[in-house]
Symmetry: C2
Subunit: 669 residues, 2 copies
């Protein structure tokens, strides 16, 4: 371990989104929001057609840069990424849900981007309109390469979703310019303040085959953190203009440039930047069979998931600068835990899983997607959390205080609108997380109901999953094909007990019930356990497998070194973290204790959040009634009274009005 | 209540510092630091003679403004206050400890200030050197009136300490200019962003008798918070220059200008600004017999002490903007709790006590002085806390994170050096907190060993207190005078049980032991309890009173609405809050529980911190050994092991190296 011998010779890949249809009860309602709510809403936002929302101006910026319109640039230096992220979400959505009208609108935006492209291939409305002489002069804060990366990712997604290559060609011209500008013996030996271009160039390489994109990505990653530090040198240049006041006293750690990446053992700095960088490092480790780089990925991954990750799969303990802090520092009420950072962690984990065929990575991906990513969006798709605390007291979430970043209700749309479109593209591309495929076979990673057409070594297989996961802990998998699958690995989740796979020899009928309700009549399927997967050892083509495991509601504790959680427990059921809300449990959730010696009770509530299992626990409440309102400190003893605690899945919190929320509950010891 | 009927017809006053000599075992070692360590150190700092310390340049600024030296202004806009606060500390120190050499140095600085004074009386080196045209153009951030106030307070202290009036005369010329500039029908109808000038003008009025100073102070207070808001209007003026980037999106609440002061019911905004304003409000309420203003003082006081004050007497729950937040929001590990704010709270409380002769205010004054003010300075007087957390884990006190304001070790000297000189003047003027006097008699407020000469209605009384408080909960009071004292009130502290006063009829000999060791042989003294005081009903002139009470180590709980303290207790003994430190209790104080059903044990440790009572408690520790370092979350149950907890007085924490500290300990329920 640690020397890269975990890497597969041939990595696994996602299934193209147009070959997969998700019909999952848990996810479908969220995925549908992308097409019906988020994409149209964001389109209106980008065109400044939403009353009360912050102005975006991002389409207008492109029109001005293209010469279609007169005016000045407005917005942040990375305002173009709103357009990019919207187009990426559209691309992902069109793959699964063709929509001619939407596609025509998107084509027009892509044409506009093409018109805003400069003769040499450059695209960036801020620098084109405002500072044409300032190109590449501020890699620390200018976000040019970051913006380019998001446009490239959008182009790749749009190609996959529609088959149209025009956007890829536009972005390839820009990529060519970047490859001609940055590198050994080239004009600039820098690298971006905000990683993103690296993973984007690699994705562009995958659809164009142009090796220079991969090489430039590797150049950026290899240069990062060398001495002298590029960013500290850059700000000494005459004419350097600071953009963000909070970067006064800049720390290279913030942008993961404190050390060469191969020497980085701990996840540091801005959490989104970190995981985007690690995604590229993982891709490059595989492409170049770079053992040292892969070891660094393993070290960084282990540091995150063993010491710096919330139980909800979120990262970034500090509100200020949205960053990692130190091992075991996981405060619950003032953390940043950005939705985008959990999405980035899932992207990093998927790459590690695809490179290693090790399901331990998928456990974390699932944790991040089912909890933090999903908490980021309201059930109606109209409001969003950027910050994902594990404990909220609305009264102290005040502007111009240390907790000003913590919001007790989801927000409509932000000036820096990174999270909503990032959620949109993740929901629209959820299919890519379900399977991983290469010539050796297929891994079933997530238990999401879908129909999928797999192309594998010239053969076509139809994969079908029927599932009511995570409400029920079983699903049915059916593989249809002319020949036997070369290999089939079904994930054994870390929380699943009594895992078993039986073969019912029958194809599932449409009316047949999925999950535990179906009687298990078949025989056990032969399999061996390999790195968190059940490797199926028999031919299952044309057969129906029923996978079941137990994952009842369970008390989970943190390593006592996590000061914030010492003496506390949370409740998990399968991948879902549960939370107390004021609406169910009254005010002052900090006055509650849970009795972990008494059993937890699960109830399926069909009317709540579209159908969800809630959990009840026995608890105690510190009596408030003995204290007068004017008495702040006193010597009277504590009185506890019995109370019943009700918990709901964390991702659904704040869908029933504003109130207190708490994940880690005091344990009565 | 609330209608101002609590105000005395004739307020009580402090005893001039040159009539009082403190010989207290607890305080003397700290007070001596002022003369021997802090004042010389600060003098070196002000002259940039301390290696590794941030540059001050403040004496040089005055030389430049005076024309004695060439160069540019350096430092913050309020850099002059370093000189002011030093001179105030010197004035207070000289009152008790004459020092010709120091006085000569101070006289030279005062002469320098005189030379830097502009022909019209104006003094401010920043505006004189840098922006002579910018005078009074930025009351929000410019700190001109704040700086003027501190210079006036210094002048008053220097007059009291030395009898020399030159500095008072210099500052009176400036005060005259301010009175001519601000007011109805005058040039400007503004008031300061940072209150301080108000209380300073009142103090200057007390030593000059010039009514215009009192009237202008009243004008500033009356104008504050009126519509339209002065500060919001000011920034619309052409040429307005922002000084502090953090004041982007300025909230009037920050500077207590969100409402007219009489309508303010809750303590809001920057905590130091708030309490300095309230001091002036209390003085003005008395001077003008303004019942509405006094009611506001009572409301604000009650809001602080009943809902927004830490058990250590500190205020300011938000690190960002060093401000109050909301009722019961008292986080222990990310609060600001500035030392200066506790000093300001003590100043406010003393005024309220002097106006009402109600000892409830003194309880809070004592809490603030014995805990937070004292925690602000190291035992060697060479380093200081500005921020006073109640829980510290050094690992997460990282720069450029949400906890960057929290320091796990005291700091040498800051660019904004408010707290060290504020501690110095407070220690040097501690005598003013011991007694309160008017024609009706004298209150004994603090139990600090001292000899004092009281002048009262033409008579002279010698007051002597012999005390080993707070280590022992008794003291001896001796009053000597030709005639009976008109009145004597001895404070009954809120934490004192079985309070009794006996008269031994004998004068204390020098060799006689103080405190509980002395056998109580005398008879009970006749007294009645009046607003927290024992009002002595007999003539005690020439007699010796022994006051004793019980104040054993006790578990104290917070109102359960204080989320941060729910399920926790702290330990107090008399006025002292106690704390766990890592050096005594091992790492991870959050893994400890205290058993409140078992007794606390007190031990006097003569070698520790110059002699202190430490406390032991029975406790439990969450076992760490079952967890591997790489295991972040798991389902294994908690194991508790027995442990003994040792607590030391909070003000002495971090005097034995860096480590964790915790005031509020989990209670085993």
């Amino acid at each position: 371990m640690g020397e890269g011998d975990q890497m597969l010779k041939k990595r696994m890949n996602s299934v193209p989104l147009n070959f997969i249809r998700i019909g999952d009860k848990f996810w479908k309602k969220h995925i549908d929001l992308v097409e019906h709510a988020i994409i149209p809403y964001q389109w209106d936002a980008m065109n400044d057609n939403i009353p009360d929302a912050e102005s975006s101006h991002c389409i207008e910026n492109f029109k001005i840069a293209a010469g279609d319109s007169k005016g000045d640039f407005y917005g942040a230096v990375f305002q173009d990424t709103d357009v990019a992220k919207w187009l990426e979400a559209v691309g992902c959505s069109l793959a699964g849900h063709p929509d001619k009208e939407l596609e025509r609108t998107a084509d027009e935006v892509i044409n506009l981007i093409g018109r805003a492209q400069q003769p040499d291939g450059y695209i960036n409305t801020y620098f084109t309109i405002r500072e044409p002489e300032g190109r590449w002069s501020n890699l620390t804060e200018g976000h040019e390469l970051y913006t380019a990366g998001h446009l490239m990712e959008a182009a790749v997604a749009y190609y996959y979703g529609t088959g149209k290559r025009k956007f890829v060609e536009i972005m390839s011209r820009f990529a060519d310019l970047i490859c001609d500008t940055f590198g050994k013996d080239k004009k600039l030996q820098g690298y971006p303040g905000h990683p993103e271009i690296e993973l984007a160039l690699i994705r562009l390489y995958y659809v164009t085959g142009r090796k220079s994109y991969l090489e430039t990505a590797k150049y950026f990653v290899d240069m990062r953190g060398g001495e002298p530090n590029y960013f500290l040198e850059e700000r000494k240049q005459p004419g350097y203009k600071k953009i963000f006041p909070e970067f006064e006293g800049y720390l290279p750690l913030y942008s993961q440039s404190h050390l060469p990446v191969r020497e980085q053992k701990t996840a540091e700095g801005h959490a989104v930047r970190a995981v985007y960088l690690y995604c590229a490092m993982a891709d490059l480790a595989y492409e170049y069979k770079a053992q040292g780089l892969f070891s660094a990925c393993e070290d960084l991954w282990n540091n995150i998931v063993q010491k710096r990750m919330y139980v909800t799969g979120s990262i970034g303990s500090s509100g200020l600068l949205e960053r990692f802090t130190t091992d075991y520092d996981l405060p619950n009420d003032c953390n940043y835990s950005e939705t985008c950072a959990s999405i980035g962690l899932a992207l990093f984990g998927m790459r590690m899983a695809q490179i290693t065929r090790d399901a331990k990575y998928v456990d974390v991906v699932e944790r991040a997607l089912y909890n933090t990513m999903l908490a980021g969006i309201a059930l109606d798709g109209k409001s969003f959390f950027y910050v994902n605390p594990l404990e909220v007291w609305p009264d102290n979430c005040l502007e111009k205080t240390s907790r000003e970043h913590v919001k007790s209700i989801r927000q409509k749309w932000f000036g820096v609108a990174c999270c909503p479109p990032n959620i949109a593209r993740t929901l629209a591309s959820l299919g890519q997380y379900i399977y991983a495929v290469n010539e050796e076979g297929v891994c079933v990673n997530l238990f999401i109901e879908n129909d999928c057409e797999l192309r594998l070594g010239g053969e076509i297989y139809l994969m079908r999953i029927k599932s009511r996961f995570p409400q029920e802990h079983s699903f049915i998998l059916q593989v249809t094909g002319e020949t036997a699958l070369p290999g089939l690995w079904i994930r054994v989740p870390s929380y699943g007990k009594n895992y078993q796979i039986v073969c019912t020899e029958e194809v599932i009928g449409e009316g047949q019930k999925s999950g535990k309700d179906a009687q298990i009549l078949g025989r056990r399927v032969a399999c061996s356990i390999e790195k968190g997967y059940a490797h199926i050892l028999e031919d299952v083509a044309g057969k129906t497998l029923q996978i079941t495991f137990d994952a009842p509601a369970t008390f989970v504790r943190a390593n006592p070194n996590v000061r914030a959680d010492a003496g506390r427990v949370c409740v998990m059921r399968g991948p879902l973290v549960y939370a107390l809300e004021e609406v169910d449990n009254g005010a002052n959730l900090e006055a509650l204790y849970v009795d972990t010696k008494q059993p937890l009770t699960e109830t399926y509530e069909p009317e709540l959040f579209g159908g969800v299992v809630t959990i009840k626990a026995h608890g105690k409440r510190v009596e408030q009634s003995q204290w007068s309102e004017s008495e702040l400190y006193g010597t009277k003893p504590v009185t506890l009274t019995d109370t019943e605690l009700k918990l709901i899945p964390y991702p659904y919190w704040n869908n029933r009005g504003e109130g207190e929320m708490c994940v880690w509950i005091k344990e009565r010891l």
